[in-house]
């Protein structure tokens, strides 16, 4: 049998896109470590990240509300295989925790990294808090990950 060769390839792509008005205000807030959600005037549901139209009643949203950088862990998993980090485009080494987090003041969850990667130390209902990068730049990864409050 001849030697079998594997050819390594790396495809790279970068792109730019318009944030929209709601995400622009949200990202401007992150730069000051401020998290803001958009609340529906009809059903009172607070959306985080903000969206321009209510998913329940289709009403246009314009009422901004402050949300804490602490919240409740609604779901979690620990990844065991290296995966692409959608925010940087590069591989994130396993294991690492991910969670759906409902911040105090929001009715929706956001998907983010967890500082904890030990399944024995993770549970639905835990209180978590955002760990911010030292100099926020106005993007979702201004939050590095969420740490569990014990």
């Amino acid at each position: 049998m001849n030697e079998a060769i594997l050819v390594p390839i790396e495809m790279a792509a970068t792109w730019r896109y318009a944030s929209g008005a709601a995400m622009e205000r949200f990202c401007d807030g992150l730069r000051e470590r401020r998290i803001e959600a958009l609340r529906c005037g009809v059903c009172r549901r607070s959306y985080l990240p903000p969206r321009p139209i209510c998913g329940n009643c289709h009403a246009p949203l314009s009422e901004w509300v402050s949300v804490a950088d602490e919240g409740r862990l609604e779901a979690w998993t620990v990844l065991q295989v290296p995966m692409l980090d959608a925010r940087t485009g590069s591989i994130r080494e396993a294991p690492y925790g991910m969670g759906l987090i409902r911040l105090d003041g929001a009715d929706t969850t956001i998907n983010h990294y967890l500082a904890e990667s030990d399944p024995a130390r993770l549970a639905i209902g835990l209180r978590v808090r955002a760990v911010w990068r030292p100099e926020p730049r106005g993007a979702m990864d201004d939050i590095v990950h969420f740490e569990v409050l014990r």
């Binding site: 030697e3 390839i9 692409l84």
Partner: protein, 137 residues
């Protein structure tokens, strides 16, 4: 506000039976191997398991190059240059970098493969084509 996105997708693919032989020959012998079809006599480079011209599977392994003639060449916006070269002994064109100043490059220009000093069974075991001066045709 304009946001930015990025993705890098690393992966590996199997070069296959003929592709592996081709790459190993580059790495170990600095040889460029091609297939000569015993049915239609066409010589295709890199090495194949089936003749791309007639589909025949009765192929002999032959060596081509390292000299060749430029069929076409182009310059990219980042100032890299690429050439399609018909290697001596081959009937197909081979695409690779032009490594020397292409200012005077022309169709029919004689070139020669320059091999990389460090080789790892990759198409980049060839640095590219460099012009040959003072060689008649």
């Amino acid at each position: 506000m304009i946001l930015e996105g990025a993705i890098r997708i690393p992966f590996k693919y199997a070069a296959g039976r003929a592709g592996s032989r081709f790459l190993v020959a580059l790495r170990d012998g600095m040889r460029i191997v091609a297939s000569r079809c015993e049915t239609c006599a066409r010589v295709a480079v890199p090495l194949r398991t089936l003749c791309p011209a007639c589909g025949g599977d009765d192929l002999a392994e032959v060596e081509v190059g390292p000299g060749g003639s430029v069929i076409a060449w182009t310059q990219t916006p980042d100032a890299g240059s690429y050439a399609l070269v018909r290697l001596d002994g081959a009937d197909t064109a081979f695409l690779h970098r032009l490594v020397a100043a292409p200012a005077g490059c022309r169709i029919g220009q004689r070139v020669r493969v320059r091999f990389a000093s460090s080789r790892r069974a990759s198409i980049l075991d060839i640095d590219g084509f460099e012009p040959v001066t003072g060689e008649g045709r």
